[in-house]
């Protein structure tokens, strides 16, 4: 849940979606500005944090990037419990991932925190030639369900930061700010890279 202290907000954010939809890549792009063609598959979930300044407040996101394989579904409640925001990710080149994403939306609507800010992200927008899910269809679905929708590309950075800014802007605050413009990214040293290590 989002907790406030002066103008600083801590917000738990969870990413959900089918395996390979690009959840980890979106986070990596947002947190470190990087993109890896082959991102290590996430097991359980991975944690990241990133702070954004929106208007005169800062939002510190505590991001849980979850594993996408269907059988990991039973672990998900532990990650979305108490989350202030969620990004439900699908891959625009996969109708299966779109179906999966809709199921996540349903589950969050029933089980999640009622004031949760939900973003619906159609990732891999750079793969236009392989597109299977139209932006119109997704937008309509998002509107019907009260989510905000964006097509993103972690690969070429399209709309990635924007999704997080929009969430930060929409998070409920103790003292809502009146001036809507002007968002600044707070400079923060990048976390040490997570090198693969072996137990030997």
């Amino acid at each position: 849940m989002a907790t406030t202290g002066n103008n600083n907000l801590n917000a738990k954010l969870v990413l959900l979606g089918d395996m390979g939809a690009g959840k980890s890549s979106l986070v990596l792009r947002f947190v470190k500005g990087q993109f890896l063609e082959f991102q290590e598959s996430t097991i359980g979930a991975a944690f990241f944090s990133q702070t954004l300044a929106v208007n005169d407040a800062t939002v510190k996101f505590e991001i849980w990037d979850t594993a996408g394989q269907e059988r990991y579904h039973s672990l998900a409640p532990m990650y979305y419990r108490g989350a202030a925001a969620a990004i439900i990710v699908y891959d625009i080149t996969s109708t299966e991932s779109f179906t999966r994403a809709k199921k996540w939306v349903q589950e969050l609507q029933k089980q999640g925190n009622p004031s949760m800010v939900m973003a619906f992200a159609g990732n891999k927008a750079d793969l236009e030639e392989k597109r299977k899910v139209t932006a119109e269809e997704a937008r309509l679905y998002a509107e019907e369900n009260g989510l905000f929708f964006m097509e993103t590309s972690a690969k070429n950075a399209t709309n990635v930061n924007d999704v997080f800014y929009e969430i930060a802007r929409r998070l409920p605050r103790a003292q809502p700010s009146q001036n809507p413009a002007g968002m600044v990214l707070v400079d923060r040293p990048a976390d040490r890279s997570q090198a693969a290590k072996c137990c030997s």
């Binding site: 359980g44 394989q69 299966e96 179906t99 589950e107 290590k197 072996c198």
Partner: protein, 375 residues
């Protein structure tokens, strides 16, 4: 250190204050190198020194193993596949010597198996050798031939994960590495269709390939782990075994590390958020070492807890540190205790998962949308 024991106690806080600054200076020099299994390790000068000490210890251990091979025979530690049928004194003395070997072996293993002997010792001690001996010699080759070219949901997911398993590793991330890992995982997905493929196994199988050197032995190690060593249903369907393990772990944490457990509880931090990965990858991606109790107790934010845990799980250079925690600090914990704990937690897990399933089914009925294809 200064010769007066009482003084040193008084000086301690100051010492601790100064030591990090020296450490920080040295820590600035980052050294990159490959470890025994080809993983790139990054560390500072102190880490390199520790690693060199560990290497020397392993070399010394190697000499102990060779000496034992010389006196007891090359395969003294291999477990007999069927107990020899004999009578009287010879049987009793054989039993006794087998017992002595078992005790000696346990002690030796805890001091480290020389890397070159690991494939043989792991294969035997894990029970993989016994498992393979129950099927025809050609089992693995036949299986791989039989499943070649078949496409299933599991094979699709495996293909998706091959380049995402320890990417950048000098062997795993090559066409040969991918092909080997694929055969092991695809082969296993057909051997046990309840498991099929579960993410996490890619890391386990990859590490087994690196240690065991041959695909077939890696395959049998994977089989014995899933079928005999680990708790049931760790990787199937709804990961119920994994849920059981998490509950057991949390229960033990409360008993063994009361202060940490209470502190995390007060922060409303569910430790499973982090430990699930440890268990599902069998510690191949992260291996916790020291407990860092003081640091954890100081942490007041989730992010701080996670960065402490991340640091300790990605910074193990001396395996003896882990063994000290496991056997000296944590105290006695037998397999029996853990088995009992698992039995105790099973019903609660089953009830919870069942309830969840019913809730999700009611969601589906609300939606009236067709059920999407299962993975």
């Amino acid at each position: 250190m200064f010769g007066t024991r009482d003084m040193s106690h008084e000086f301690q806080p100051i010492m601790q204050y100064y030591r990090p600054s020296i450490h920080t200076r040295r820590a600035n020099i980052v050294v990159k190198f490959q470890d025994l299994y080809g993983f790139t390790v990054e560390g500072n000068v102190d880490d390199v020194n520790i690693l060199n000490e560990v290497r020397e210890k392993v070399r010394q251990q190697g000499r102990v193993w060779w000496a034992l091979e010389a006196s007891k025979g090359a395969n003294w530690y291999l477990q007999p596949q069927t107990p020899p049928l004999s009578e009287g004194i010879s049987a009793a003395s054989r039993k006794l010597s087998a017992l002595a070997n078992t005790i000696a072996l346990k002690r030796l293993i805890r001091k480290g198996i020389p890397p070159i002997l690991r494939p043989k010792v792991w294969f035997s001690v894990s029970g993989a050798a016994k498992k393979r001996s129950t099927v025809p010699e050609s089992y693995y080759d036949d299986l791989i031939k039989a499943v070649d070219g078949k496409v299933t949901p599991a094979t699709k997911q495996i293909d998706h994960d091959l380049p995402r398993t320890f990417p950048g590793h000098p062997w795993l991330d090559t066409p040969q590495g991918h092909a080997s890992l694929r055969r092991v995982l695809v082969g296993y997905s057909f051997r046990d269709c309840h498991v099929g493929y579960c993410q996490g196994l890619n890391y386990v199988a990859a590490l087994l390939l690196l240690v065991m050197k041959t695909e077939e032995e890696a395959f049998w190690m994977l089989a014995v782990l899933l079928e005999n060593v680990l708790v049931n249903d760790c990787y199937t369907d709804n990961l119920s075994g994994c849920h059981v393990e998490q509950r057991v772990f949390k229960d033990l944490l409360v008993k063994k590390c009361t202060r940490i457990a209470a502190h995390l509880e007060a922060m409303e931090f569910d430790v499973s958020l982090v430990t699930t990965e440890w268990f599902l990858c069998l510690f191949s991606k992260s291996l916790p070492s020291e407990m860092k109790e003081d640091e954890l107790l100081m942490a007041s934010q989730v992010g701080d807890v996670l960065s402490i845990l991340h640091r300790t799980t990605h910074h193990l250079y001396d395996p003896d540190d882990l063994l000290t925690v496991a056997f000296d600090k944590t105290g006695s914990m037998t397999t029996n205790t853990i088995t009992k704990q698992r039995k105790k937690q099973e019903p609660a897990v089953m009830a919870e998962l069942d309830q969840r399933l019913r809730r999700l089914n009611s969601l589906k009925m609300d939606d009236k949308s067709p059920v999407s294809p299962r993975e």
